[in-house]
């Protein structure tokens, strides 16, 4: 049995994103699965099992996070703290193989190759920002800024593969929040990348940034052979389209995202 997780908080995204994510998984996952959403919202389709925000990590619920006075760049430091709860072993009493997805993605085709890849090796899997300029990633400044190399739109793991992540979070909570103000991907890249293999670029791309630097970084381009397309946006790039807007403007996005 597979266990899919996602999280929804705040006002940026509606429950539609969660319901549609469920639909896309249902269409593209031939394995039996449960679908969980960590949220304080209601009104989801009946197959979505709602989970409360865990409170093991201090100031990690959305409310606590936004009430903190430690902001950087107008966001709480490590602004996506609720996603750290995924790494709690047996979190919410759930065991087995786990997959965490961002809610602003589309699943384009059968996910079986991803599951086969996971079973064929020993590590957890993570998305990878293959579209990054790899020359930039190699620069000392990238490391000094705790820059991310993985992309947290997709993770797949079994608890025993990532137990050190939770131990680190429990032991170093305040330092982790303080350092990784850019988000949980920066934390995973800097402290725990050795626990992951990457989802290959043949399966994963970004609507706004492309697939593979330097040759295939065209934005807004449909790549039907890939399995997952993420819609990560950057405030420094106002031309980046969020998923809902992309679905209004691009028929192929609309067809997947339902």
């Amino acid at each position: 049995m597979l266990n899919f997780f996602c999280s929804l908080w705040g006002d940026k995204y509606s429950i539609d994103y969660v319901n549609r994510l469920y639909s896309m998984i249902e269409r593209n996952c031939s394995e039996p699965f449960f679908f969980f959403c960590q949220t304080d919202k209601t009104g989801f389709r009946k197959e979505v099992q709602v989970l409360p925000f865990l409170t093991d990590l201090k100031e990690s619920t959305p409310e606590e996070m936004w009430n903190t006075d430690d902001f950087m760049n107008e966001l709480p430091r490590l602004w996506d703290r609720p996603k750290l709860n995924y790494w709690k072993p047996n979190g919410w009493g759930i065991t087995g193989t786990k997959i965490a997805l961002d809610i602003d993605i589309v699943i384009q085709k059968d996910m079986t190759p991803i599951f086969e890849l996971f079973e064929s090796q020993d590590k957890a899997l993570s998305g990878r920002s293959w579209w990054h300029n790899m020359d930039h990633e190699a620069l000392p400044q990238w490391r000094r800024r705790y820059g991310a190399r993985n992309n947290g739109g997709f993770y797949m793991w079994k608890d025993d593969q990532v137990i050190d992540i939770w131990n680190d979070l429990k032991h170093n909570t305040k330092y982790i929040y303080f350092c990784f103000h850019g988000g949980s991907d920066n934390f995973i890249t800097t402290r725990h990348l050795d626990k992951f293999n990457f989802l290959p670029k043949e399966m994963y791309y970004s609507f706004n940034r492309g697939c593979s630097w330097p040759d295939d970084v065209h934005m807004y381009k449909h790549r039907p052979d890939k399995i997952i397309c993420v819609f990560n946006t950057d405030v420094d790039h106002p031309h980046h389209l969020e998923l809902k807007k992309a679905a209004e403007d691009y028929q192929w996005v609309k067809e997947y995202w339902q």
Binding site: P140, F178, C179
Partner: protein, 216 residues
């Protein structure tokens, strides 16, 4: 030693030639970073610190920790220039590549240098139980780190020399101090021997570098 001119130079910059070749051949992606480490403002910051520290310091044969040492391009030669009979210099940085460059750069003093590839932000508690405790702790990059008040060690005779700045436009400056008073709070020193500020950049654009030297 070569000539009288060379003898009079505080820093044997001709020894950098080999290191620059190493960077060019093995670490070309670091050449700009290394160049930044020897900019005029780096010389001003480090020599300001060492000039004051050498007056305040009363310890002989000191063990010196340098937190966030980077290449140590400027601070290491100045330590050996300004402090007599240094026993050991412990360099702490989380960037593995800097240490090979550092090893080449400071060949002359390598027998007295101990390098620790550690991220200070995750060593705050561990440093207190290190085998070799310091007489002097230098941190010229507090803006990259958790507050130094949590790092202060038990021995009250340890001399601390800290620098930070208010340049918060740089994303890696996760703890920029917006005033000297704020920086003093972050450091938690009870006896301050020196405090001051200087322009952070070569031109005074309002950004400041802060310095505090004193005891816990």
């Amino acid at each position: 030693m070569g000539t009288r001119t060379m003898e009079r130079m505080n820093i044997p910059v001709w020894e950098w030639s080999e290191t620059l070749e190493l960077i060019a051949h093995k670490y070309p992606h670091r050449y700009k970073d290394f160049a930044y480490s020897i900019r005029k403002n780096q010389w001003e910051a480090k020599s300001w610190l060492m000039e004051i520290l050498s007056v305040v310091n009363e310890k002989e044969n000191p063990v010196i920790w340098v937190l966030g040492s980077w290449y140590g391009s400027v601070i290491v030669p100045l330590i050996f220039r300004y402090i007599d009979n240094v026993k050991e210099v412990h360099l702490f940085d989380y960037d593995e590549e800097v240490f090979e460059i550092c090893h080449s750069l400071h060949k002359k003093w390598n027998s007295k240098i101990v390098r620790h590839c550690k991220d200070i932000n995750f060593e705050i508690d561990v440093l207190k139980s290190y085998d070799v405790q310091p007489d002097i702790v230098i941190n010229t990059s507090c803006e990259h780190m958790w507050v130094m008040s949590d790092l202060l060690l038990e021995d009250k005779s340890i001399l601390y020399a800290f620098q930070s700045n208010n340049f918060d436009l740089e994303p890696s400056h996760i703890n920029a101090a917006h005033s000297l008073e704020k920086f003093k709070e972050q450091c938690g020193l009870t006896t301050i021997e020196y405090e001051g500020s200087k322009p952070f950049h070569d031109i005074d654009d309002g950004y400041k570098r802060w310095m505090i030297i004193g005891y816990a």
